[in-house]
């Protein structure tokens, strides 16, 4: 439902209901007051007549049985009817409006009486053997009431209607900045991610504009990251491909030992291409992995053993392992845990001189298991420490794919772990990989 319709329904509905209730109450009140006022008029008129009659009762009673001294029918017309009758029921005097022998038998006090299909309101008093009745027609009363109510309520209704129209226009006018913003956003090109201008906007829209701008900034950063990744990935794949292609062409030009060497080099290029592809694939798998899987578990002892075996199948004399958590279980798939740790070890081995040392220590820290890999290599400067987990960053002309630590970082992000890199106390690099421990240690899957 559009905001305009919603606002109109809410404000208009509330206004109409409120004004309607007031009008209803007003109508009832006016009607009550009118009835009382008209009844008072009947009563007053009856007493006035009674006063007039009783000033000279003999005039009325002495001539009982005879033609009354007064004309029986007064030529008075108007909304009120009046009749004076004797105790015997003779009508002594009557206004022109009343229609004979009907009003007199009314009981004293107020009453309703139907005469010739019309309802009358009557008031009767008995005094000195005379019955004095005043009356008016209900139809006249309701005509009077209706005109009064109309006079009171009509402006009211007109004001309500006018109010709703003003409301319609006002709401539309007030929503214009929103509509302008909508048009601005709707007409943007798909790749236009510059911030929306926030000047000249109503205060209420600013938070919304700010949020949109923050989101645009995030999308912009992501698009840039993806673009850089694509171009970096293309570069990474092109380099080994170039090596393969050039050596195959050399192979065609040469023979004997040179040909064998060219073939070996082409093979090496294929191995590099394969390694780069599998790293890229791992990275995309980790990044696409839908959240932490609670059922995934890996024994720390297995992870350490597999990671060491993978990175140094023939063993590495520089590597020293201190495992304080042989029996711990971590909450992520074994293959990914092994990859994360292996990349950290690979990195240390690549940058540590032949006579250096690499120390892998595993210990428990709260609910996490901490893997610390410290080497005696050249370490990294501040820029290097900040960039080392970026995809395709590598130090100098390192032989790595530039993806290892990025993959470890991605695994950490996926499974609630963390990776920190720092300079060691005696130089070298210290990589700390913290991975969450599984909930129940005894429930290990095969």
């Amino acid at each position: 439902m559009s905001l305009r319709v919603r606002l109109l329904l809410m404000i208009g509905g509330a206004l109409a209901a409120l004004w309607g209730a007031v009008a209803f109450w007003l109508h009832g009140d006016i009607e009550r007051q009118m009835q009382r006022m008209l009844d008072d008029r009947l009563l007053t008129a009856a007493y006035m007549v009674s006063d007039l009659v009783t000033q000279n009762p003999a005039l009325w009673t002495a001539s009982a049985g005879h033609t009354p001294a007064l004309q029986p029918v007064l030529t008075l017309t108007g909304p009120l009817a009046c009749q004076v009758s004797s105790a015997r029921g003779e009508i002594l005097v009557q206004t022109a409006g009343a229609t004979g022998a009907v009003l007199h038998d009314a009981a004293p006090g107020f009453a309703f009486k139907a005469i010739d299909g019309q309802t009358w309101r009557t008031y009767t008093i008995n005094t000195h053997g005379l019955a004095i009745t005043t009356a008016d027609r209900l139809a006249e009363r309701s005509t009077l009431l209706n005109s009064t109510v109309l006079a009171a309520v009509a402006p009211f209704g007109a004001a309500l209607l006018g109010g709703l129209l003003v409301l319609w226009w006002g709401v539309g006018k007030a929503l214009q900045p929103l509509e302008r913003l909508r048009c601005e956003l709707a007409t943007r090109a798909a790749d236009e991610l510059t911030p929306v201008a926030d000047t000249g906007r109503p205060r209420e829209l600013r938070p919304f504009v700010d949020t949109v701008n923050e989101m645009l900034a995030r999308v912009r950063a992501m698009v840039q990251r993806e673009r850089r990744f694509t171009s970096d990935a293309a570069h990474e794949l092109r380099t080994p491909l170039t090596a393969i292609k050039v050596h195959l062409q050399v192979l065609r030009l040469s023979e004997g030992e040179d040909a064998v060497r060219a073939l070996d080099h082409a093979d090496e290029g294929v191995a590099r291409l394969q390694a780069a592809l599998s790293q890229l694939l791992t990275l995309s798998q980790v990044e696409a992995h839908a959240g932490s899987d609670g059922a995934s578990r890996a024994a720390v002892a297995d992870v350490v053993a597999l990671a060491v075996r993978d990175c140094a199948p023939a063993g590495d004399a520089r590597l020293q392992i201190v495992n304080h958590c042989e029996d711990a279980v971590i909450a992520l798939p074994q293959a990914l845990a092994v990859t994360a740790l292996r990349n950290l070890l690979d990195n240390a081995r690549r940058h540590t001189p032949a006579d250096g040392r690499i120390r892998l220590q595993v210990d428990r820290q709260g609910n996490d298991v901490r893997f610390t890999v410290a080497d005696t290599g050249p370490g990294l400067d501040d820029e290097g420490l900040a960039m080392a987990t970026e995809r395709f960053w590598r130090r100098g002309t390192g032989a790595g794919s530039g993806l290892g630590l990025a993959i470890t970082q991605a695994v950490c992000e996926r499974f609630g772990g963390s990776l920190t890199l720092a300079r060691g106390p005696e130089g070298g690099l210290v990589g700390t990989l913290t991975l969450p421990q599984a909930k129940n240690n005894h429930d290990m899957e095969a």
Partner: protein, 224 residues
């Protein structure tokens, strides 16, 4: 033709090295910008093949510095960066050509020959001097319409002398366009090659300028 290859990827460098040598070029390879600077200070090469992603410095920075120093050697950028802005930046920094990795060896060779040809002020790939006709990119030499097969060093020597267009080249200069740093050279190697060329083509083709060096005969003594 002598080429300096600046490429840090060992595997690719070896391939290009072997490929260019197989096409009769003399190639030296360095892996860093610093080494490239050092090599260019002592070596006169006909063209530089430059990779952009060097470990110690960006290739474009190196190129800009070379051009600022007045180095006019043709430069061919060999890069995996395929975006148009990269190519534009490369050419604007002073490169003469831009070739994308992966590339065809034959294309690289043809482009290098084209660069050398333009640097020598020619616009066709054939050098003619009297009855002698040399096509450096094909390594083809004909004398009076008859093909004369020449080994690659003799061909390189002949090309260098022809490209010099009569200027005198010292034995040292000629040697450097025939051999790279690693070649084991005998002191009279150039003499021997000159002798062979005179015998195979025309005795008057190459003049010896005593105490200075050699030049191609200006008066076209190789006329029929």
């Amino acid at each position: 033709m002598r080429i300096l290859l600046v490429e840090d990827d060992e595997l690719i460098a070896q391939g290009v090295l072997a490929g260019l040598r197989a096409h009769g070029m003399t190639v030296d390879q360095v892996a860093t910008a610093a080494h490239a600077d050092a090599a260019l200070a002592t070596l006169a090469c006909d063209a530089i093949v430059l990779d952009l992603g060097l470990p110690d410095e960006d290739g474009l920075t190196l190129l800009r510095r070379l051009r600022a120093k007045g180095c006019a050697t043709p430069v061919l950028i060999l890069s995996a960066r395929d975006a148009v802005p990269d190519k534009v930046a490369g050419l604007q920094c002073g490169a003469d050509d831009y070739l994308l990795k992966p590339f065809d060896l034959s294309e690289l060779v043809a482009r290098l020959h084209a660069l050398a040809r333009r640097a020598a002020g020619r616009c066709v790939d054939v050098i003619e001097r009297g009855a002698l006709r040399v096509t450096p990119s094909l390594g083809e030499v004909t004398m009076h319409g008859r093909v004369v097969p020449l080994p690659r060093r003799e061909l390189a020597l002949l090309s260098a002398l022809l490209n010099a267009q009569g200027r005198i080249l010292s034995a040292e200069q000629l040697k450097s366009s025939l051999y790279d740093f690693n070649d084991d050279i005998e002191s009279n190697a150039v003499n021997v090659h000159i002798h062979h060329l005179r015998r195979k083509l025309d005795a008057g083709l190459i003049e010896t300028v005593r105490g200075v060096g050699y030049r191609i005969a200006l008066n076209g003594s190789a006329a029929p």
